[in-house]
């Protein structure tokens, strides 16, 4: 494994963390939008309390991945910014509206509360959809020089992401984030009724995730041949699929049996394994079909320094993160103060 592979792996770890932590914050917004029934207000209150202390820290995983990408793989970042300008701009609008609206909603004036909650919820739905779509565009090999770029505006800037496969990955990401959020919320709920609400939602979205995976796989047959071949024929494919399936089944069974902590770990593992399946299927390419990790890598001097900084940063960061989550996610939830 080369230095560049190592750094690429770290970037993917950051994306993985963003998906299982930040992704769940988006998923929370989706459940806010879909809050239903007599306990609607309590569901929303729980979601806001769960997201409040951590969403900004969770969001930084994305920023970290982006700055590491442009430092260590500048040509890949340049090509992504060019070819996926439109969906990434839309993702940014979603990120801005989600974060601001959440803060305005929680800290702002009382009368407009519900309006901000609505903006927060809709942005939470749109952003994962578009993020997943960009991931789908990358996986399908459409962001390569040998991709579908036929030269005209549509072919170069729209077709790579506005297609059934990329959109199906967007849908998959949305359901995955909603699933994660529902699973986590069963643990954070203080009263049994709300917990059961989210248990039902977690089970439903877990099944939905399976269906979405089938759709993605079917569409990949002619849209993303490399992903398909990686996922089906590679040497590591069978053990990885078995692990992913085991995590998925564990998550659903644990939810059924109301073993909330087991469900949380299994759900996070399931989503992580799916992500690593994608990463392995397109290795050694950072932007398939033509830009490899080795070709896109910055000079070794930069990579070595970044790795040193990553080690030093991790020494600072991991205990801080542990502290944050210990305070807000492991203690007795009943002492959460609502309005700091």
């Amino acid at each position: 494994m080369s230095l560049a592979d190592l750094v690429a792996g770290v970037i993917f770890v950051a994306l993985n963390a963003y998906a299982v932590l930040g992704g769940a914050d988006f998923g929370g917004g989706v459940w806010d939008l879909l809050a239903l029934g007599p306990r609607k207000a309590r569901q929303r209150e729980l979601i806001a309390e769960a997201i409040g202390p951590v969403w900004e820290a969770n969001h930084v995983w994305l920023i970290l991945a982006i700055v590491l990408l442009f430092t260590c793989f500048p040509p890949a970042f340049a090509r992504l910014g060019t070819r996926l300008h439109i969906p990434l701009s839309l993702v940014l609008i979603g990120i801005v509206l989600r974060g601001s609206a959440f803060t305005f909603w929680r800290y702002g004036a009382d009368e407009e509360q519900r309006n901000w909650g609505m903006v927060f919820a809709i942005a939470s739905l749109m952003t994962p959809l578009l993020l997943g779509t960009t991931a789908g565009a990358i996986a399908s090999g459409a962001v390569g020089d040998g991709g579908w770029g036929s030269g005209d505006f549509y072919g170069t800037y729209v077709a790579p992401w506005l297609n059934p496969f990329a959109l199906s990955v967007g849908m998959f990401a949305l359901i995955a984030f909603a699933f994660l959020a529902a699973v986590y919320l069963t643990l954070e709920a203080r009263d049994r009724e709300v917990r059961e609400d989210f248990r039902r939602r977690a089970l439903a979205s877990g099944v939905g995730l399976f269906l979405a995976a089938v759709v993605v796989l079917l569409l990949s047959l002619n849209r993303a041949p490399r992903v398909r071949e990686g996922l089906i024929f590679a040497a590591w494919a069978v053990p990885l699929h078995l692990l992913t399936a085991a995590a998925a089944i564990t998550a659903l069974v644990a939810l059924w049996a109301r073993r909330w902590r087991v469900a949380r770990v299994a759900a996070a593992a399931q989503v992580s394994l799916i992500l690593w399946g994608w990463a392995l299927s397109q290795y050694p390419y950072i932007l398939p079909p033509d830009l490899s990790i080795a070709n896109a890598a910055a000079p070794a001097a930069t990579l070595r320094l970044v790795l040193a900084a990553l080690v030093a940063g991790a020494v600072l960061l991991l205990p801080s993160l542990y502290y944050l989550f210990r305070i807000f996610k492991m203690g007795n939830p009943s002492s959460v103060n609502r309005h700091p």
Binding site: V60, T71, A78, I93, G99, S100, S335, P340
Partner: protein
């Protein structure tokens, strides 16, 4: 509007918007921590109230800063992919460090905002200190990256490609120290005076309000020393650019002709075609004196480079004068305040000082925006000074008007909302009675508790 101009405008709007929240994110945590510390030392609840209210304001502003900062990190690739393809490996390092600093800031701000009842008061205060320190550090890292664009180093240029890349040398570029110092001081001065100004304005109506008096004190402790030091740091910057970026200095001073004993040009209306500045006040020798500490020194004018490499002289010169005027005003008010405080005068009852402070509210931010105009417009037509032209860095994607207008509208909308929320937050400042005896030695009972406008 050309695509290049649209891209530059979008970047300008994004930076101008983000910088306000970024500097508040640097300086507000310092005030919040000072207030909390005073609460722990004195036991006066008024300081706790102040810390909590500032924390709430910080929460709103930090969130907007975090998301608008995310936009900027993506926009580097969305608008300037060729700049990033060239520079990413050289100057990504400070951005990566900034990522860690920002991470730390976000983690401990979450702990600070939501942890009042969950951790010990000592741990809580230290969480606030971590926010303040990492906020300052992340600002410094980003400014170092910008300084490299002004003083590129740490690589060799071979056939248009950067080789022999040395990221640490790039970070230690010639402009890094003066720019980082200038911007950090600016963050404290601008935020400190903005907060002080708001409370001074409210004290004009109600000089006995303990809440506003304590807030004013802490805001001035943060803002005033920075404002006094800023002209010294500005001198450092000016002397740096006189040597390393003479075109920027020439544009800032509207100096068209290289000359010895160069005059300082105040105000006026630069006319690049006629190579003169109409209606300006020229003070002989002073520019040479300021730039080189020698009244007869030669200062390079715009005639050193072809007109095609001139920045927009009018915009740079006027921005520069706005920055200097606003900064000078803040420094003078800071000195006046310091003098009164040293004489142990009752600041809040000095109506002229309160008026001067109220007037200062927006001036720090104005100076910051104008200063960024100088440094960014003054570097044009280069994105990396002397290495890569902005026009060669822009994305090939057409139709950039659309994202420019979209983000401009989004930011206008957010700006209005934030202003409205802060206004509501401020006018709901606590009423006086609880604290009056603590702070009016005469035990006055004036009913002035309602400071709502």
């Amino acid at each position: 509007m050309s695509d290049l101009l649209a891209a530059r405008s979008q970047m300008a709007v994004s930076l101008a918007f983000h910088i306000v929240f970024a500097i508040i994110g640097i300086a507000m945590p310092v005030m919040m921590v000072l207030a909390e510390r005073r609460w722990q030392v004195t036991g006066h609840a008024i300081y706790l109230d102040l810390a909590k209210r500032w924390a709430k304001g910080t929460a709103i502003l930090f969130a907007v800063g975090a998301v608008s900062g995310t936009v900027l990190s993506f926009e580097l690739g969305l608008l300037w992919p060729r700049f990033m393809a060239f520079a990413g490996a050289i100057i990504g390092m400070p951005f990566s460090l900034e990522g860690f600093a920002f991470f730390t800031e976000a983690i401990f701000l979450g702990i600070y905002l939501y942890g009042w009842d969950r951790i010990s008061s000592r741990a809580h205060l230290w969480a606030g200190v971590a926010v303040a320190v990492s906020g300052t550090a992340s600002g410094i890292f980003v400014v170092i990256a910008n300084a490299w664009m002004n003083a590129p180093t740490g690589f060799e240029l071979v056939n248009g490609q950067a080789v022999n890349v040395q990221p640490l040398a790039a970070m230690a570029n010639a402009a890094a120290l003066s720019q980082a110092l200038h911007m950090t001081l600016a963050a404290y001065a601008a935020t400190g005076f903005a907060v002080a100004g708001i409370h001074a304005f409210l004290l004009l109506k109600d000089p006995a309000n303990a809440f506003h008096r304590r807030a004013l004190e802490i805001a001035l402790i943060v803002g005033a020393p920075a404002a006094v030091l800023q002209p010294i740091s500005g001198d450092l910057s000016a002397r740096h650019i006189a040597v390393h970026q003479p075109v920027k200095l020439a544009a800032a001073e509207a100096l068209f002709r290289t000359q010895t004993g160069a005059p300082l040009t105040l105000g006026g209306w630069p006319d690049a075609a006629a190579r003169e500045t109409r209606f300006a006040v020229h003070v002989p020798y002073v520019l040479s004196l300021l730039a080189f500490h020698d009244p007869h020194a030669v200062v390079k004018g715009l005639d050193q480079v072809p007109v095609s490499e001139w920045p927009n002289v009018r915009a740079v010169h006027l921005s520069f004068d706005v920055m200097v005027a606003a900064g000078t005003y803040l420094a003078l008010v800071a000195l006046w305040t310091g003098w009164l405080a040293w004489r142990r005068a009752d600041l809040a009852h000095n109506r002229r000082l309160m008026r001067a402070l109220a007037l200062a509210t927006p001036l720090g931010f104005l100076a910051v925006e104008a200063g960024w105009m100088v440094t960014e417009l003054g570097r044009q037509p280069w994105v990396i000074y002397g290495v890569l032209k902005t026009a060669d860095a822009v994305t090939p994607m057409p139709g950039l008007m659309v994202p420019f207008l979209t983000f401009t509208l989004l930011y206008c909308f957010l700006g209005v909302i934030v202003a409205w929320l802060l206004y509501r937050h401020i006018i709901r400042s606590p009423a006086v009675p609880e604290w009056r005896e603590f702070y009016m030695p005469g035990g006055g009972t004036r009913e002035t508790g309602k400071e709502t406008a």
